[in-house]
């Protein structure tokens, strides 16, 4: 059977009406006293509500707040590494070779 847009629209219209008619159907009595008691019993089993937020919740809250800060730090570090190079090992080896007897890591940073 060949269908046209008008036919589709008619069917859609009836299906939407069917959905709304179904919506009105009664669901009373599904959640009775026994159901209510079961829910409350499950809740009591869970126990007291934790007022401290769980790690995952905290992570979710702070992740996006800290993301811009992390991005800025990465940009700054990239800038410094690009301009000055990343030669810590070389600097340390040089300091050690020049003063092998009295080598002190702290001096490398102070001097």
């Amino acid at each position: 059977m060949k269908t046209f847009d008008g036919d589709n629209e008619k069917i859609e219209k009836v299906l939407v009406t069917a959905f709304r008619e179904h919506e009105k159907s009664s669901v009373d009595g599904l959640t009775d006293k026994v159901w209510q008691q079961n829910v409350m019993s499950s809740i009591r089993k869970i126990g007291l509500h934790k007022t401290e937020k769980e790690f995952t919740v905290l992570l979710g809250q702070f992740f996006w707040r800290l993301a811009p800060v992390a991005c800025i730090l990465i940009i700054i570090m990239t800038y410094f590494m690009y301009n000055f190079g990343f030669s810590v090992e070389y600097e340390l080896s040089e300091a050690f070779l020049n003063q092998p007897a009295e080598y002190n890591l702290l001096q490398t940073f102070i001097l």
Partner: protein, 201 residues
């Protein structure tokens, strides 16, 4: 009108007070919210789930609500917050079903074909209503929705069948408004294709 708004605000404040009591350790106070909103939750579930799963899922909705009570922000009120949990629980239900394919896709019979043909020949508003009340209408709608992914199904139900705006649907599902708009456009196209495919050649 003014009094309605006043009572609504007072009602929301009552809910907030109860939530605070529960968070302070008075677990039994949650029962007040349970009794107050169980019908509201069941109505939402009735729009999205098969009848046989409503009771169990309503139970899950309240357990989820209780567990997430600490994250409840007062904007929009408790009822709205609980609605988002109910809708997202329905979405999770269909995702689970879709993965496990627990529900076999139903097939249509001769009577469904006849129903479709008769709808196309009907013209009056009363005839549309009568056709919509027939069980074939609901079965064809379920068949079409079963063919959609859980995401498309939720969007079709919320936007086209329930009449929510893209923004409201996005709020209920926890998606961005643009995502809902794009998906609703695509899912409607898919639904049209499914319905066209139901007609006999």
């Amino acid at each position: 009108m003014h009094n309605d708004l006043k009572s609504l605000a007072a009602d929301e404040q009552d809910d907030i007070d109860i939530v605070q009591r529960v968070l302070d350790g008075e677990v039994n106070a949650f029962e007040v919210l349970l009794v107050k909103y169980r019908n509201h939750v069941v109505k939402i579930l009735n729009r999205h789930l098969p009848y046989s799963h409503i009771e169990e899922t309503a139970h899950d909705v309240f357990i989820r609500a209780y567990k997430s009570l600490a994250t409840f922000k007062q904007q929009g009120g408790f009822k709205q917050w609980l609605s988002t949990i109910a809708v997202r629980t329905c979405y999770d239900f269909w995702r689970k079903q879709y993965r496990s394919r627990e529900f076999p896709i139903s097939s249509l019979t001769e009577s469904h074909q006849e129903w479709l043909e008769s709808v196309m020949s009907d013209t009056s508003e009363q005839e549309y209503r009568d056709k919509a009340r027939q069980k074939e209408a609901k079965e064809i709608l379920d068949y079409a929705l079963e063919s959609l992914s859980p995401e498309d199904r939720m969007v079709v139900k919320l936007v086209y069948l329930e009449g929510y705006t893209g923004k409201e649907a996005a709020g209920l599902l926890g998606w961005s408004t643009s995502n809902v708009k794009i998906r609703s456009f695509r899912s409607k196209k898919k639904l049209k294709k499914i319905i066209s495919g139901l007609m006999r050649d």
